[in-house]
């Protein structure tokens, strides 16, 4: 029988595939942001939202512009950035080093994983007084706080990434008589890099959170100090201006890590 003999029964097979795979949609984030800001502006102007609940977005913008004009924005930002960079670099470098060791040596793994598990959940902010005693009230205690905060998540993501390196590649290296150090440098480290970089996003975000905490004590300048001053005076415009700067900082670091991934992991395609 030919398939054309039952034209009445013929109907197209319904499409059941698709979905479950998010694709990049340009401009979606901008629309969400502007909608939220416009909603807040409209709400505060009509009185639907009181000024005590939420500052008017345009007032926050004015505060930011004033801060920029006075030159204080750069003072605060440069101090904060140097703390974040120094503390973060120490913590992330040490974290990658220790994470690699845990991934490579059984004894280090057995000895340190419980220590890391014990350190990770401690709110590092609670240790700030201790750091002040150990390192003094100056910059060193702030570096230490940020370093410790970024250290533990970096360790966890690094040894997880090392564990996930394809064992057949390691065996290949051994079969060609590559030295231990060559295998670590040319096979394990590049193989772990995707995992290390995605862990870095979390570590840097935690670093920014701790930056504010570190500037609670004995800091004259810095975004954290600025926010805390505003908070204690219930100056909501300044508070929000500071929070906005932190958010921009977060977006910027995430974008930089994205660039790094694009450059270092171009082999993934």
């Amino acid at each position: 029988m030919s398939e054309n003999m039952h034209p009445n029964n013929a109907r197209p097979v319904p499409f059941r595939g698709g979905g479950f795979r998010p694709v990049a949609k340009r401009g979606a984030a901008i629309i969400v942001f502007t909608t939220l800001i416009l909603l807040a502006e409209w709400g505060t102007r009509t009185g639907w939202i009181t000024n005590l609940t939420l500052p008017r977005p345009s007032d926050v913008a004015t505060t930011l512009i004033d801060l920029w004009r006075s030159g204080l924005l750069w003072t605060h930002l440069s101090v904060s950035l140097s703390r974040l960079v120094v503390g973060g670099t120490i913590g992330i470098t040490a974290g990658i080093g220790v994470g690699m060791m845990i991934g490579l040596f059984s004894y280090v793994r057995a000895g340190l994983i419980p220590v890391v598990a014990a350190l990770f959940p401690i709110p590092k902010i609670a240790l700030l007084p201790l750091f002040v005693i150990w390192f003094g009230i100056d910059e060193a205690s702030k570096y230490a706080l940020i370093a410790l905060g970024t250290f533990t998540p970096t360790i966890v993501s690094t040894y997880g990434a090392v564990d996930n390196v394809d064992r057949t590649l390691v065996r290949m290296g051994q079969s060609f008589g590559l030295s231990w150090w060559s295998i670590v440098r040319k096979i394990v480290l590049p193989g772990a890099l995707p995992g290390i970089l995605s862990g870095l996003r979390v570590s840097v975000a935690i670093g920014i959170i701790l930056l504010v905490a570190a500037e609670m004590l004995g800091a004259e300048y810095g975004i954290g100090a600025y926010i805390l001053q505003a908070g204690s005076l219930y100056d909501l415009e300044r508070l929000f201006a500071g929070v906005l700067i932190l958010s921009v900082l977060g977006i910027t670091t995430s974008w930089i890590i994205g660039l790094l991934e694009k450059r270092l992991l171009n082999w993934r395609g």
Binding site: T168, F176, L178, S179, L265, W267
Partner: protein, 255 residues
Amino acid sequence: MDLTLENITHRYDGLTVLEDVSLHIPAGQILCIIGPSGCGKSTLLRLIGGLEQPSAGQVLQLGTPPAGCLNPLTYVFQDFALLPWRSVGGNISLVLEDHGIRGAAADKIIDDVLARTKLSDFRAALPRQLSGGMKQRVAIARALAVNPAVMLLDEPLSALDAQTRELLMEDLIGLWQRQPFTGVYVTHNLAEAVRLGHRIAVLSRRPGRLRDVIDIDIPLGERHIGDPRLEALQTRLWDAMKQEAMAADQELLHV
């Protein structure tokens, strides 16, 4: 350089996978090892190349590897084992760097092996841009670069489709004809074994014992698809293995 296996026995946690295997691997020939799945043929290859230690018995090298040989026992893996972050050229230079071969000296070797495997145009390509057959050619080029005394091929064509497999088999025969190498070729594919093997060692199912060693006198260059002599040989091998393969298929996996 010849290799000799003396009474190799191997166990994993009390489970015997190989039992009393003795075998001679003469230089300049390809030895194929066939057997039902799980008979320990890949384990045997890892033992031959020193990636694992046998529970009993030993693998002996007879004579010294020829001059200029950087890595006497060199593997070609089933899943290619190419570094995805290195280009074709970079994957080959990887195995030269540790021997202090860099720059012009390395370029010369890389150009030579890429030409022998018909890959000269793809030196800068990344593994993800290559088809399975091309990836395995890169792995073969990498193995040739260290000028091995013995090539250990672990089901090198099993991850490829039938047509690519045929092409690569012809390439391997061509490589051997131009410059005969010693090879140990593990496969479960009887057609590959009768096309490429000067000798075929048949293993029983687990625990793997040596059941038979068959010599094939037909020169590699004269073996073509559909050759009745090869077909007959293949049928003979299959008859010998069929019961074992069926029994192996019914076994529970313990690994």
